[in-house]
Amino acid sequence: MSNMKFDDYLVKNKFPLFWCGGCGNGNVLGAIVRAFEELQLDRKNTVVVTGIGCWGKADDYINTNAFHGTHGRALAFATGIKLANPELKVLVLMGDGDGATIGGNHLIHAARRNVDLTAIVVNNLNYGMTGGQYSGTTPEASYTSTSPYGHIEQGFDLCKLVEGAGAPYVARGSVYNIVQLQKLIVEALNKKGFSFVEAIAPCPTHFGRRNGMKTGPKMLNWIKENSVNIKQAEKLSPEEREKKFVLGKFVDRDKEDYSTKYEKIFAIAENAE
């Protein structure tokens, strides 16, 4: 195969991108296709699976194989695709509403089963496509269209959730720290087993507008000011840490994945009487 450039993985005749000005989805898309370039992934052997939402549109712009599923079920479809053909490289793109709120159950169970998938959750802290309602990751006390006087629930720490479910690779990046995000995506794609990357991204149209950050640069500055790396986070009190986005790699361990175990048990079953 000839040398692939990052834009060879993009469907450029569909540009300009569908997303709002200042939306972080385009940055995560960029980090993904640049990671593809770095790894020289074979387009024919790669499948991108998405659900519903703004970020669910991402498969329209990536010219690998693609599967656009129903809301919250991207991981369920991806599990099926991977088990039917374990040779495929399967990438699952979900938003926080899609992957962590409506599809939260699929997220923990895919991590528990350790299916060899790479899940990238773009966390823009609300449901962007449907009008800025709060999601399972909306921070406490922030304003959304369904919490106009301040949100009274606390948001999920998705990385801790997936770590607790047993995933062998868990990391969080942000659109502001775009070089680190690309590095984490490359590592996740290389990992055998369920690898999870959360990308903190701005939604200036909904979350930003209701929280005093109407523009992309304002939201990016807010993400920058509220991000700390793992070492810095260790020095903070638990209360302070809860309000920050802790960025970096939390888990990187070796664990036998589902397909490998399945093949072994299949062989045992075949030889059984």
């Binding site: 834009d7 993009l10 540009f15 300009p16 991108l17 997303w19 709002c20 000005g21 200042g22 939306c23 972080g24 989805n25 385009g26 940055n27 960029g30 659109v175 775009i178 070089v179 200036p204 523009t215 992309g216 640069p217 990016l220 500055n221």
Partner: protein, 67 residues
Amino acid sequence: MNRVIVNTDWCKRCGICVEFCPVEVFTQEVDGTPVPEHLEKCTGCRMCVLRCPDFAVEVEVDKDGTK
């Protein structure tokens, strides 16, 4: 000198390249379109390329020039 090319068909005038350029290469037109006016300052770090959410900025680094 480096060349900075803005694809105005893809650009959504969000202002991220203008805000986060470490050496302030860009100025903005009234409608928000970024203009790479101070090309002599460009160090070729390409952060505008990576931070642009719309793949609308490209930097061609001049390998022979001083900057």
